[in-house]
């Protein structure tokens, strides 16, 4: 029986840097429980003899030569940035970590 607790949702929210209120935690715990339950049904038909699949195509060793290709201009690279300074992406103060 799959399931996700309110505490687990709170933990995931912290890892995802999402601020969730108490009622939201309850709400999402219920929804996520439904989703996990639905996905878990796959294992009812995929038994031990079906290996987990991460890649749908039977491809390996797709590699590129170590050759430089043109990069974006700094203006292009920064065009989607909400804020910039000194040709760099400007981000809010980073708290609590280093």
């Amino acid at each position: 029986m799959p399931g996700i607790t309110r505490e687990e949702v709170a933990h995931l929210a912290r890892l995802a840097r999402l601020e969730l209120k108490g009622e939201e935690l309850d709400h999402f715990a219920g929804q996520l429980d439904d989703i996990i339950g639905a996905v878990a049904r796959v294992s009812e038909v995929a038994d031990q003899d079906v290996p987990p699949t991460s890649h749908p195509l039977p491809l390996t060793n797709v590699m590129r030569a170590d050759e430089v290709r043109p990069s974006l201009t700094p203006a292009q690279a920064l065009s989607g940035a909400p804020a910039q300074e000194q040709q760099r992406f400007k981000v809010p103060q980073i708290l609590g970590e280093d």
């Binding site: 390996t60 590129r64 050759e67 690279a77 760099r88 103060q93």
Partner: protein, 503 residues
């Protein structure tokens, strides 16, 4: 909040506890392009000039792995006596931090490309210690943050941070040891020797220059203590970014003392990351370490698995150079120097230069003399590594040839070296331009000797009276008169001859 812990003196700590280490070394590969895109890895470019949709994590961009990145990883794995995976995948390591614009780092999780190896390291007294390797895996570097508004440019007190993603995506190989046990009091030395040996190995493989001062090689030091005679490992701390050989040694030493202090006081070690401080060799608390599951690793769907054929692996194995430790021992014997001498040659970064100089025709003793003497001094003064000096091994070999043939004496040779370093050209050009040749013309020398005797009558008398040691002053006068270009031994002979004294 800072908790002050009493450090226990090293020997005292070792009397009670047995240190267990784990070393994680990140090596930035010297590929031309990033691990998953074709952006240049050239150092020193203007900020955000080497980025593209892939390394910026823009929607829809698809990464493709760099073949040389994979090849380098396999070479490193093989040189560390690892098994090479027949099939392995990349994984996303999810975390939210602005140094990675994708919000995950592409890494490898439970399927590293190389695993189960070892590296034998030689300690200063010649003892060989085997460090077992858990794994070596492929991943990518992060962007560079600049913290603005803090007093010291550090994160604390910063108002905001600025990100340059030129470095994001540069190939990294992370090499992780198994727990290193049994080193006891030699733990700091083993840690340092391991990182030094790994650095030599990486360079010998030609996959990176592994310059620690440039961040091309970085070390995280995990350390825990357990009471002597017990099996169970204690809780570890992870000191991040210890970026010189000396610092690796100091960090281990410091953490041994700190852990012992906490444990002796009945406290518990918190599993956390710690920051190392170069200035006093101490560490301070960083963040509480996230559990691996907090990174929610999962197989990277955008990169297909890597399955190196056994033929490819064997081809790469055949290209492996002689291991640095083996080569060092061979050279030490060939050169006839002691362990200690070899260590200082190594520390000076002179091994390859001396080899190249002997290959260019010099004898090893004179090659060593120049690289460790005059040239080491010059490198030191200009704050450059030895191999960055503007002189080639072939040029050094030419100078030593000129000394061997008697065309130059030591003093003149030093001037020639100085001229080459100053950009005046090849040794022969410098000799020519500066007019540096040993004066061996007996007539010219004889005149200079006669003049010196005439000008220093009192000294000459002393010598005639048997004080042969006083001849030094006259030799000096002749050398001065010939601007150092005379053969000093011959000058001395001539002086004694003229004064009728037996040398």
């Amino acid at each position: 909040m800072t908790v002050i812990t009493e450090l226990v003196p090293f020997d005292e700590a070792l009397a009670t506890y047995d240190p267990v280490m784990g070393l994680e070394v990140h090596v930035e590969l010297g590929t031309r392009t990033k691990m998953f895109c074709g952006c240049s890895t050239e150092l020193g470019a203007d900020p955000n000039t080497q980025t593209c949709p892939v390394c910026l994590g823009l929607p829809g961009a698809l990464p493709v792995v760099n073949a040389i990145g994979v090849e380098s990883a396999i070479k490193i794995g093989l040189a560390l006596h690892c098994e090479i995976a027949e099939w392995c995948r990349f994984a996303r390591k999810n975390y939210f931090y602005p140094d990675m614009p994708k919000n995950f780092q592409t890494s490898q999780y439970d399927e590293p490309i190389a695993f189960n190896g070892y590296l034998d390291v030689q300690l200063e007294d010649g003892e060989v210690f085997r460090v077992e390797i858990e794994r070596a895996h492929m991943e990518e570097d992060t962007g560079k943050s600049t913290h603005v508004g803090g007093a010291t440019g550090r994160i604390h007190g910063a108002s905001h941070s600025l990100l340059d993603y030129n470095r994001a995506g540069i190939p990294l190989i992370e090499i992780v040891t198994k727990p290193i046990t049994g080193a006891g009091a030699r733990a700091p030395e083993v840690a340092k020797a391991y990182v030094a040996e790994l650095r030599e190995l990486i360079r010998a493989l030609g996959v990176s220059e592994a310059r620690m001062e440039m961040g091309q090689m970085r070390c995280d030091v995990n350390l825990s203590l357990r009471p002597n005679g017990t099996e169970k490992f204690g809780t570890r701390s992870e000191t991040k970014n210890v970026n010189s050989l000396r610092s690796v040694e100091r960090a281990v030493r410091y953490e041994i003392g700190r852990h012992a202090g906490v444990l002796d006081a009945g406290g518990t070690i918190i599993q956390e990351t710690r920051h190392f401080h170069e200035d006093d060799g101490s560490t301070t608390s960083g963040r509480v370490k996230e559990e691996a599951e907090d990174y929610r690793y999962f197989p990277e769907p955008d990169l297909v698995p890597v399955a190196p054929s056994r033929e490819w692996v064997e081809e790469l194995r055949a290209t492996l150079p002689e291991l640095p430790r083996v080569r060092r021992n061979r050279l030490r014997e060939e050169w006839g120097v002691t362990e200690l001498d070899m260590q200082s040659i190594l520390n000076a970064g002179a091994v390859d230069l001396i080899v190249a100089t002997t290959e260019a025709g010099a004898d090893s003793a004179s090659a060593r003399k120049w690289w460790l003497g005059e040239l080491a001094r010059s490198a030191n003064e200009s704050g450059r590594p030895l191999d960055a000096l503007p002189i080639t091994p072939a040029q050094v070999a030419r100078v030593s040839e000129l000394v061997a043939s008697g065309d130059l004496n030591d003093k003149l040779a030093r001037q020639v070296i100085e001229g080459v370093l100053a950009g005046e050209g090849d040794p022969d050009t410098v000799v020519e331009k500066r007019g540096l040749k040993v004066v061996s013309d007996e007539g010219a020398l004889g005149t200079a000797v006669d003049e010196a005797i005439a000008a220093n009558g009192a000294i000459a008398d002393k010598i005639r009276g048997g004080k042969v040691a006083a001849a030094g002053a006259l030799v000096g006068a002749v050398m001065k008169a010939t601007r150092g270009q005379a053969d000093a031994a011959r000058v001395r002979e001539l002086i004694l001859e003229r004064l009728g004294v037996e040398g």
